[in-house]
């Protein structure tokens, strides 16, 4: 019985950890890549202050495209 409880607890903790990691992964995949005519690329991750307003426009456009 004790072993079963331990297994269930382990499973619950593992699931929570997985959900947390998945959510974190989803958030970190938010970014804006800017490609310039000279071939250079600037990649802005979601935690950068410059990316935030650009992502707002992108979300607005995606919402309009899908609704």
């Amino acid at each position: 019985m004790g072993r079963r409880k331990l297994l269930a607890l382990g499973f619950a903790v593992g699931s929570l950890l997985g959900i947390g990691l998945y959510a974190r992964r989803g958030k970190s995949s938010e970014r804006v890549d800017l490609y310039f005519a000279d071939g250079s690329l600037v990649s802005l991750h979601s935690d950068s202050p410059e990316a935030a307003p650009l992502l707002v426009h992108a979300r607005d456009a995606l919402r309009a495209a899908r609704t």
């Binding site: 989803g26 958030k27 995949s29 938010e30 970014r31 804006v32 890549d33 800017l34 490609y35 310039f36 005519a37 000279d38 250079s40 600037v42 802005l44 410059e50 307003p53 650009l54 992502l55 426009h57 992108a58 979300r59 607005d60 456009a61 995606l62 309009a64 495209a65 899908r66 609704t67």
Partner: protein, 137 residues
């Protein structure tokens, strides 16, 4: 000129990743779209604002943008005064999407080929025979 709407129809047909696309000019006026007009206008406004704001960041000549969000990506490509915005599902193959968008922009800007005039059948001269080769050359 290839109809812009035809170019967009071909784009969504060849690319399984592109959900919708809007072709618009520098003023944000929609030229063609695969979604209804009202929504296309909203997409064009947001995409233009995104491109304008992003253009102030690098300092160079911005030609294309990929904005990845948790539930999809927005691609914007600029070619002169014409721009195209497209939405895709999450984590698309960016290189392929950009290639398809640039091809669609070029197709929309390309002048249509004029239909060829029917060629006149050449009258065969009567009574002439092909000289036979001697076969010793």
């Amino acid at each position: 000129m290839t109809e812009p709407s035809t170019a967009l129809a071909e784009l969504t047909e060849i690319s399984s990743q592109i959900e919708s696309a809007v072709l618009f000019d520098a003023d944000g006026k929609v030229v063609a779209a695969t979604i209804p007009d009202e929504r296309a206008a909203q997409v064009a406004t947001s995409a233009r604002a995104l491109l304008e704001q992003a253009g102030q960041i690098g300092g160079g000549d911005l030609t294309q943008v990929e904005a990845s969000t948790g539930d999809g990506s927005l691609f914007v490509v600029k070619d002169g005064a014409t721009m195209i915005a497209a939405s895709t599902s999450a984590e698309p193959t960016a290189g392929l999407v950009f290639y398809d968008l640039k091809s669609a922009l070029r197709a929309a800007a390309k002048p249509a080929a004029k239909p060829k005039a029917a060629a006149k059948p050449k009258a065969k001269p009567k009574g002439t025979t092909r000289p036979k080769s001697s076969g010793t050359s």
